[in-house]
């Protein structure tokens, strides 16, 4: 990283990329990593570790996950304090109450933002992420850039996403190094009194559940009548 050019972590600056995207090769063969994953897949099936059905079911499951599920959970927690307490105590059970299956192998921990505490999530060792609730992580979350900077300069990273926090707020960075996956419960924005749960869910963006930003009212149209 140089003085002249600081790559941003939001994925819009391709100079910040740390790997190539070769795509389809001139000889028509798939790229190296695609070939490698196919080879591993074939071996696992051949040895009876997995079936093709298992793989397809997992693909279908992951493709059915998206930040919209997290939005529903957060919105319910905003309107129902008892639900919020259950969510903070046992996130998988609270997700199941809304029909969201988060019963994967990893534990899920929800951390709550308050007036004085702001949480932000990273996985410096790889790309651990609460996939059962948010789906696949964005590319920037997996980049070396984010993983290095989130721990040492979280406030600068948040500022690039447009979030400037005062010194009165304690920033807590969670490095998800082991079996726990973290999800941030952002604060309900001011100016949303009287909004329905559905309207609230719509403003809970992915970045606010990673903690690099807050829900933003300026990015959605206010509901009619508010």
């Amino acid at each position: 990283m140089t003085e002249q050019h600081t790559p941003h972590v939001d994925g819009h600056d391709h100079d910040g990329h740390d790997h190539e995207h070769p795509g389809v090769q001139p000889d028509g063969r798939p790229p190296y990593y695609a070939q490698r994953i196919r080879a591993i897949e074939s071996l696992l099936i051949e040895k009876g570790v997995l079936s093709k059905g298992d793989i397809q079911r997992q693909i279908d499951y992951i493709e059915s996950r998206s930040p919209a599920l997290g939005g529903r959970i957060v919105a319910r927690a905003w309107v129902d304090p008892a639900y919020k307490a259950r969510l903070l105590a046992d996130a998988k059970a609270a997700a199941a109450e809304l029909g969201i299956d988060a019963s994967g192998v990893s534990e899920i921990v929800v951390v709550e933002n308050t007036d004085t505490v702001h949480n932000m999530i990273v996985c410096t060792l790889c790309s651990c992420y609460p996939r059962p609730i948010l789906g696949r992580p964005p590319d920037w979350y997996k980049s070396f850039n984010y993983r290095q900077r989130a721990v040492v300069e979280p406030r600068a990273v948040m500022a690039e996403f447009g979030l400037e926090l005062g010194d009165n707020v304690e920033v807590r960075v969670h490095d998800s190094t082991a079996d726990m996956r973290y999800l941030v419960l952002p604060q309900r924005p001011a100016g949303t009194d009287g909004w329905s749960e559905e309207q609230l869910a719509a403003i809970v963006n992915r970045d606010s559940m990673i903690g690099v930003n807050n829900p933003r009212l300026d990015r959605v149209a206010a509901p009619a009548g508010s």
């Binding site: 979280p154 406030r155 920033v171 960075v173 490095d175 190094t177 082991a178 079996d179 726990m180």
Partner: protein, 102 residues
């Protein structure tokens, strides 16, 4: 808890500063630093065994350990002194913090 844990919330701990080969889930930047046990997550299969075809037993206690950012990065950290970093660390990477270590 199916197994006795060595540390309790509030205990001050030191992360072992060791260099070992293998699938280690203790990041380098936190080794040798002193923090505080915030919570006991439970016992989990040991990733250092799981990654190489082992069954991960015996399960190891896993802790949420909090560190002041100033302890981890010193003057490199530009932010208020109350900012913290939380890392999940297995028990066999932790020792009780002593006066000499911090």
């Amino acid at each position: 808890m199916s197994q006795e844990t060595r540390f309790r919330p509030g205990d001050r701990v030191w992360v072992k500063d060791e260099e070992r080969p293998g699938h280690i889930r203790t990041p380098h930047y936190i080794r040798g630093k002193t923090g505080q046990i915030e919570a006991v997550h439970g016992v989990f299969r040991n990733p250092e065994s799981l990654a190489y075809g082992g069954d991960g037993t015996p399960k190891r206690p896993l802790y949420l350990v909090g560190f002041p950012q100033s302890e981890v990065w010193g003057r490199r950290y530009r932010g208020p002194r109350h900012d913290r970093i939380y890392v999940d660390i297995f028990e066999h990477w932790l020792e009780p913090a002593t006066e000499t270590r911090g």
